[in-house]
Symmetry: C2
Subunit: 410 residues, 2 copies
Amino acid sequence: MDLIVQKYGGSSLADAQKIKNVAGRIARAKDAGNRVVAVVSAMGDSTDELIELASQVSASPDRRELDVLLSTGELRSCALVAMTLMSLGHKAISLSGAQAGIRTDAQFGMAKIAGLDPQRITDELDKDKIVVVAGFQGITPGMDTTTLGRGASDLTAIALAAGLDASRCEVFTDVEGIYTADPRLVPSAIKLDEISFEEMLELASYGAKMNPRSIELGMVYDTPILVASSFSDVPGTLIHGDPDMNRNVGEIRNRVSGIATDINVAKVTVQGVTDRPGIAAGLFEPLAADGISVDVIVQNASAGGKTDLTFTVKRDALARAEGVVRRVAESMDSDDVVTSLGLAKVSIVGTGMQDAPGYAGTMFRALADAGINIEMITTSEIRITCIVSEDQVGAAARALHTAFDLDSPR
Amino acid sequence: MDLIVQKYGGSSLADAQKIKNVAGRIARAKDAGNRVVAVVSAMGDSTDELIELASQVSASPDRRELDVLLSTGELRSCALVAMTLMSLGHKAISLSGAQAGIRTDAQFGMAKIAGLDPQRITDELDKDKIVVVAGFQGITPGMDTTTLGRGASDLTAIALAAGLDASRCEVFTDVEGIYTADPRLVPSAIKLDEISFEEMLELASYGAKMNPRSIELGMVYDTPILVASSFSDVPGTLIHGDPDMNRNVGEIRNRVSGIATDINVAKVTVQGVTDRPGIAAGLFEPLAADGISVDVIVQNASAGGKTDLTFTVKRDALARAEGVVRRVAESMDSDDVVTSLGLAKVSIVGTGMQDAPGYAGTMFRALADAGINIEMITTSEIRITCIVSEDQVGAAARALHTAFDLDSPR
């Protein structure tokens, strides 16, 4: 008998009717002969509503108390789903993160899973029950409730799937799977039947809104993850670790699996910095100390002892980043600090890229032919990213989607 | 240093501003030099809203799951109150029923407190923290969440006060204390400064809406309970066990302390029953088996081998009670079964009554003078209750309030 872990997001549980639909879907998995663990998020926007309520009583709510408050959203969902399953004639039980044995450290608001003690889950499964677990939460050694960070119900589900040695983890959400590009930008985007963990990590910036830590966890424990819609019966996308995926057997493999886009990009350039050891550290250490995450970093080759240093941050961090940089730039004898908001990232992603040349050339040619200027370039082993003007990101994604033969089903 | 347990009801916590007010009141008790434990109910009508939500997904929600669902209301309140206290500059921590060591049996929905292990509370108090405990909930030996029944946050507070050997338990609610009668019926009703546990038990059917089990618990552990308003600074009513209460020292004690009224009364009369042993058992056993609580029972002395048997139930139980009785009445050769809805109870309550005659006579005379017909009479050691027509209950309460000299402060 297969053990399947399913996960349902908040939009799939937004009201009583949607909860009944989810219960029906869980029941079908049980009726098909599986042992089933369902992990649920808080209903609809209830987590945001709780954060708003907390902000009304405290300018900076204590993190332990905020975790107690937020964890109640998932408790409500799991109790409601369990009672719905019982009204459908199934045996079911809800478990909190603590009851499910999800042990964490005490970093409230972003706790790390420290261990899993799934004895209670196994006991209840052995009683032929469907086990409904509150996502997003765990418990410290001191018996305090923690949460694992926004979107971390995926993490609960995949950790349970790994710990219970499940056949697979099924993540049901409001999209039908992982696409070759964001369908809002690229109308010809095609849903992928499967994708590797590595590619999914690179693509995680769009589409299925999956938590990157969840994908890493699935990769580490080699637990296949199916991403599918909770509103339809369309087959989803299987994220798995098989390095020899069977698409296009007998044909030349298309080694680009998708186009990732991200418009949440702002740029800071420190111009005319004296090029000496320690300059980069002198800039990026104070940014890290202020909790500002830096994404792309480019330093041009220096000429005449002076260099330009450019990096990108998320847009809402630009003002803080500029403040830090202007303070530091003076001590670097910088000529000026220039910032820009209207930028976007467009990337090609594919595991095949790492042992095949020519992808960068094809990418830059396609963008040039579409009249798109490239501001910055950065690469990983399986990804090439260009920073372009925000108003050109759709055209860029469409040009690349065509250039890498993604427009028609493979 | 005194230890005080405070309890705040849902109407006192209905929104962010009310939560801030409650936090201010808790903080004042701490600033006055006390160790403070605050027990909180769910915000406003949120428990009713959760019950409605459960009814939308299940015709008869599983009781364990309903307890998981309902317990989240108090968790939200305690987290919000704790973070509000911290934003006011106080050390505070919220504890769930489980964390507070409230151990119960596994009767979901109406669990009984089986024991108290307040080590965590004591540890946090020793760290100079205000401890905010989620009312209404506990945990079974199997680590499942239970609730203690509607209105049972009072019970949590008084159990903690008893277990922690607190100086007193302060119950803050939306009334200013315990009155000599329901002020909506008797405009001259006066707030009592103090009242005995025994009298409060009899009066519990009106006014402060206190859980009778809470009063019993306070009585057993001799824990004084102050009932006061969370919206004003008017002194409340102290419920305590001192048998020689100091009111009217040097005067003749008024031995009636209050008039209780209850309009949730329906009557069933089984007419012309053959008067033989076992008739009452044959009637009330099947009612109990159907879970119908019977209140007042009156059997007239028989004449000619036939008797009438009358009892009252809450109004929403009348249809079920009548069904049971009609089924049983046939086997008793009853002439007929007659029911009536428009009734009310009016009672005089006072510990002094048990060793002084004349109260019944005064009561019946006052009602007769006011033109009120008495349908049934029942008594306890410290209470005399008359069943009257519902539309006369206000007049009856006012007449008795005057007859027993309750209209002016004592």
